[in-house]
Every structure is written in structure tokens, then in C-alpha cells.
Symmetry: C2
Subunit: 219 residues, 2 copies
């Protein structure tokens, strides 16, 4: 699973504006960046009146719009996917996942705080805060980046979150939850499964293998 960092801050503190500068810088350094935004309520991502929107309104569980450059998918879920499940399922090829929100999870957090707008940073700061981005010197106990120091922030993320976590070759999701694999188990699973599948027709050079098993009732 790729590393995940949460950008948090009071409303209008400038989280999205900061990300609009940070993402291109990280991408320029060769990293694939993913983002996740959490909504508490039902949302509408598609455009009313479009065919995919009409399919979804009619009751399709999953709708997709596919083109040579992009893919859009909108699907029902029975309950909030956990962040782990979301990242495990859809962000396997990403180097760093950035969330906006998810303040309550025990993710490493970077708070955006503008003293020009708010008197105080967010309450409840704990050990999951790893840095601040602010127009003031910030808390002495945390690295604090000026609002326009996108390079410094990118350096920090690169050295603390991207480089120490090289992409895993094998990921295992059980009942939607990622399972941590130590080096022995990772190698064992990978080699056993690669061996089993590469003898099948058309699977001689498996660069990517995805196996999904859903248990039905006992046979």
C-alpha cells in the first residue's frame, strides 16, 4: 500500500490551493500522486443529464466512462469504504496518496493554518501531526513551512514519506482490509502464485497478476 498523508486545516485555510501547487511539483519529480476527498453526505460527481448520470439514476450499481486518456467510475457502496480499502483497491500504482480531510484517522497529518484568517490552529493536536504550513512561525515542536515554500514541503514529503516506502510487489486484501506481509510471506506468496499462473495459456510473461476470490457457500 502506498504511503498516505492527510492535509487538514480549518475551512478556507487554503488546503486545495496548496495542493494545486504541491501536486505539480511532486509530479515533476517523477512521482504518481493520488488524492482522496471524503464527503460525509451523498455526493454527485457526474454531470446531470449525461448518459452515465442517467444510467446511475436508473439504478446501475457501477457506471463507467472510458476514453483513451481517462477512466471515470462511479459506484454504490454499502457503507463508507475504509481508507485502507480504498487505497488498497484503487491506488496500487501510486507513489503518494494525499487526502483532504480524514482528520480523525491516525494518519500522519500536515495542518494548513493561516493566522490571517483564524486565531488558532485546529484543536487536539497530537503526535500524528508531522508538519505545519503557515503564515506564522508555527509550533516550535514541528517543522513549519511558509505557505509559498512548495519546494521545501515537497522535499519533506519525498524524504519522509515517498522514498522510505518503495512500491510493494505484492499486495493482499482480505475482506477489504490490507494484510501486512513480511519479506518471507511476500516472496512465498508471489513466487507460488506466479508459478501457478504462468503455466496457464497466455500467462507466460506475467508483469501483473490480479486474483480475486469470493467464497460462496460451502460446496
Amino acid at each position: 500500500m502506498p504511503p498516505v498523508i492527510a492535509f487538514i486545516g480549518k475551512p478556507d485555510s487554503g488546503k486545495t490551493t496548496l495542493l494545486e501547487k504541491l501536486i505539480p511539483e511532486l509530479r515533476h519529480r517523477g512521482y504518481r500522486i493520488g488524492t482522496i476527498k471524503h464527503h460525509v453526505h451523498t455526493f454527485e460527481m457526474d454531470k446531470p443529464g449525461k448518459d452515465t448520470w442517467r444510467h446511475k439514476q436508473a439504478g446501475a450499481s457501477t457506471v463507467a466512462l472510458s476514453s483513451p486518456t481517462g477512466l471515470g467510475i462511479i459506484r454504490d457502496v454499502d457503507e463508507d469504504l475504509t481508507l485502507e480499502e480504498l487505497v488498497g483497491r484503487y491506488y496500487g500504482d501510486i507513489d503518494l496518496v494525499i487526502t483532504e480531510g480524514y482528520k480523525r484517522l491516525t494518519l500522519p497529518k500536515i495542518e494548513v493554518f493561516r493566522s490571517a484568517l483564524h486565531e488558532e490552529p485546529l484543536p487536539g493536536r497530537d503526535e500524528t501531526w508531522v508538519a505545519m504550513v503557515s503564515d506564522t512561525a508555527g509550533a516550535a515542536d514541528l517543522p513549519c513551512f511558509p505557505l509559498d515554500d512548495v519546494m521545501g514541503l515537497a522535499d519533506f514529503l519525498e524524504s519522509r514519506f515517498i522514498k522510505p516506502f518503495p512500491k510493494q510487489k505484492t499486495s493482499l486484501l482480505v475482506n477489504g482490509q490490507p494484510v501486512q506481509l513480511n519479506a518471507f510471506v511476500e516472496s512465498f506468496l508471489r513466487q507460488a502464485i506466479t508459478g501457478m499462473t504462468c503455466s496457464l495459456k497466455g500467462c507466460q510473461d506475467p508483469r501483473e497478476i490480479i486474483i480475486t476470490i469470493r467464497q460462496g457457500p460451502p460446496e
Copy 2:
């Protein structure tokens, strides 16, 4: 992989309008329906100005909006995903996938034809056409459903495409392409992998197992 049926027809023949009546009927019968729309050009599914849209514009490769009832994901692709890859990756829990378009693929096809609008049905009819939906009696060699016979069309899809293909327990994607598994191989893979994983911590009751293996350079 779930069964896939393509609805095709000349522009404005009423494909989406028909699907708006057909999808609720199939859903009412207890089936999970997915749809796929193909665009030849770059598309915009998200709403300009929204945070996810701004992340994507800034260069994020994958953006998601997650809520307790729905999930929206927009991602870059390097080239058109094949329909097999799209269905294999994202439609594992679906009973029937309906596409609009994909006229050139060798999928089973249902043509919507309205003689009030067009003089002739689509050219090039071949053995992949399985039915017509039309305001005329249609071709004598194919089942033809009146435009408002949604029940009849749903019966046809249920008996020809949904019921004969019970959901597979195990699916295998290699380099993005689904691999057909005969009963022996399916059972062997499923039992071997379930056995390997269910001894890991936290994996005792694996209702769903997803393993992704990406081969790096040789060790």
C-alpha cells in the same frame, strides 16, 4: 467475468431512454447492473471547480471522492482500457454489464432502431446481433421487442445472459487480460490461495481475497 451486452443504434435512436426503463426492471429482479460508456475523445466527468477536479487539473493521476453511499474515481490511463480489463477490474460484483457503444467489438449486441427516425437499421449486421428493439416488426431472423416491451426484453436478458453465467468465485487477470479458468484450475487456485492466506494473522474467515502481484526487475 460477468456477461456483457452492447446496446447499439444510430444517434438519437433512444438507447439511453430504453436503458432508463430496463435497468430499474433488472434491478427490481434482484440483479446488480453495471454500465459502460465509451468516449473516443478526452472527457470531463467531474464538475469544474470542485476539489477533486482541482486535484486532477493539478496533475494527480487518480482522484477519488468517497462517501457512505458512493464512490467516484477518476484516473489517467495510458491507453484505452480494453473492455475485458475494465470489466475484469471493476465489475466483479456485477451480474450484467451493459455497454452503450463498443459497436466494433464482437460482443452480443441489441440494436435499437426507430423507423420513425431512420430509414434503415445500422449497416453490417452479423451474427453478433442477438435482438432488435424497434417500432417495426424488425428482421424476421432476430427476436424483436417493441420499444415499450421492457418486461420482454428483461426476460430475454435474464434467460440468455444472466442466469446461464453464475458469478465466478475466482477471477484471474494477467497483464490486464482476464484468463479463462476451467473448473479444475479454478478450484485448484482458489483452494491453494485460500489455504495460503487464511493462516495469516487476521485472515481466518476470508470471504473475499484480492492479491495483486507486480513483477519488478529480476532479483
